[in-house]
């Protein structure tokens, strides 16, 4: 086999055709075009000394414009066309890829039929996209069930209004102290159930709202330090009643920009839930401190208390799970507040956590990306 035959055999084996670009969309085949070329172009065209490749392959015709730009710039490397599919005369589909290159000072077009690689890629992408579709379908199913649950829980609250009303009326009747005590228990439990239902409804509505677009425009995004300030103002009396204090960290500079991804009312609710949590655990005479820390493209916000701290055997991450509750008589009512915080923070691209502080107390923190970072 001479060198020319060997060259043609290699091109055939590699399913690769080489063309030299002459001008104005006209090419000169280099060597004998392999079989796939003859199938697409026809024998006569494939063996011609000059050929306008774009005439029979509109995709390639489009790519030739990019190739010309590449050749005119005399760039290094290659310009790639991406894959496309051509039909042969007998209706079979062939996957093709083209690339433009400068080789030995000549404008070269490489046309390849990487069928096996293409078929493998199709298989992989088919599996990936089928999985994505399945995932989307499951998310929709979950959302439908959550909405249904939301409706059921909402309906559960209706009789409570009548129950509480009836209990209030009964209390107006004269009754013995034992009966009065029983009435008070019934009233407290009805109130507790109403609070739990309200908390569940808030958590569900937050999940639905979390699907909506969040604000990342720096001019409209919430200032998280200002949210901390509002939380301190809102809880002043509650802490006073406990004999404790709530304050902003003295190191917090409110004049600096602290805008983060998110939405203000929910940011306030995050602080509200964390502060309520701290209020439950802070002893009389202690101080709960709120603040923010610069973390580059992120802002860390924290609520520090001087309470007993987190138990050593506690899995801190689990505290933020739905319906999770801390230990002890001061644990939260329904295990929803911290779950709401976690869900909202994560939806905004952030993280949340808690840890013990030295020498006493705990820190609950959340980290959010700066707006438009």
């Amino acid at each position: 086999m001479n060198d020319d035959s060997m060259y043609s055999a290699v091109l055939e084996e590699q399913r690769l055709a080489l063309f030299e670009y002459l001008s104005d969309g006209v090419f000169r085949p280099i060597g004998k075009p392999p079989a796939f070329c003859r199938e697409i172009l026809g024998d006569d065209a494939a063996h011609a000394e000059q050929i306008r490749l774009g005439d029979s392959m509109p995709f390639l015709d489009n790519f030739i414009a990019d190739a010309e730009e590449f050749w005119n710039a005399e760039s290094a490397g290659r310009a790639e066309s991406g894959a496309w599919v051509e039909k042969t005369a007998d209706g079979r589909e062939l996957a093709l890829e083209a690339s433009a290159a400068w080789l030995a000072g000549r404008k070269i077009l490489l046309l390849q039929n990487p069928q096996q690689r293409y078929d493998e890629r199709v298989q992989v992408l088919q599996t990936a996209r089928d999985s994505l579709l399945e995932h989307e379908k499951l998310l929709r199913e979950i959302q439908k069930k959550e909405i249904l649950l939301h409706c059921i829980v909402h309906d559960l609250s209706q009789p409570l209004t009548a129950i509480r009303g009836s209990l209030s009326l009964l209390k107006l009747q004269s009754m013995g102290p034992e009966f009065k005590k029983v009435m008070e228990i019934a009233e407290r439990q009805a109130e507790r159930q109403e609070t739990m239902i309200r908390g569940i409804l808030q958590a569900f509505s937050a999940e639905l709202a979390a699907q909506q677009v969040i604000t990342n425009d720096p001019s409209k995004a919430p200032d998280i330090a200002r949210c901390a300030q509002k939380a301190v103002e809102a809880f002043q009396n509650a802490f006073k009643e406990r004999g404790a204090r709530i304050a902003l960290s003295p190191e917090l500079d409110l004049t600096r920009p602290w805008r983060v991804s998110g939405e203000e009312s929910r940011a306030l609710r995050i602080f509200g839930n964390l502060v309520e949590n701290a209020l439950r655990h802070c002893p009389a005479g202690s101080t709960v401190t709120l603040g923010t820390i610069d973390d580059g493209d992120f802002v860390i916000s924290f609520v520090d208390d001087e309470g007993p701290g987190l138990p050593e055997d506690l899995n801190a991450a689990r505290l933020f799970d739905l319906f999770a509750k801390g230990k002890g008589e001061r644990a939260g009512k329904a295990g929803l507040g911290l779950y709401f915080c976690k869900m909202t923070v994560e939806r905004w691209g952030g993280t949340i956590g808690c840890e013990n502080r030295a020498p006493v107390g705990a820190r609950f923190w959340f980290r959010l990306p700066r707006a438009s970072s």
């Binding site: 489009n62 996209r129 089928d130």
Partner: protein, 165 residues
Amino acid sequence: MIQKKVCMLGSFSVGKTSLVRRFVETIFTDAYLTTVGVKIDKKQLRVDDQDVMLMLWDLYGEDEFQKMRMSYLRGASGFLLVADGTRRATLDKALALKTEADKALGPVHSVIVLNKCDLIDKWEIDAEKEKELCGSGWNIVRTSAKTGQGVEEVFTQLARAMLAK
């Protein structure tokens, strides 16, 4: 004969290939076979006493695995922005692709295609949204590549708009 390039734009699995196959070959299959490269089909259409050859560029759906190249849209006279009516997010994607295309190539005649209208009980695009888009000047056609509803209409409508330019 006048030739016009039409590009099918949209997310994956909205029915771009099915619409082309229904229009060109009058066939439909339920199985989802993903498009990886670019396929080009052609069909001759008679619109208002004029013959036009539509070159239909069936582009793969843009997702995290494959990003659409703007160079594919070069020379296009029209876009069909295909959305799957049972997947709300695909409408936003189709509109986003059009915005990107406008920036790269300038405005091109477009029609929004809300496909899979045979699955109307699973529809996620409400009438309000359709009304809003119509109000903003968009042409919208509901289609079903499965039943054929609206398919001939949408290609004819686009061809008419392209010829009227």
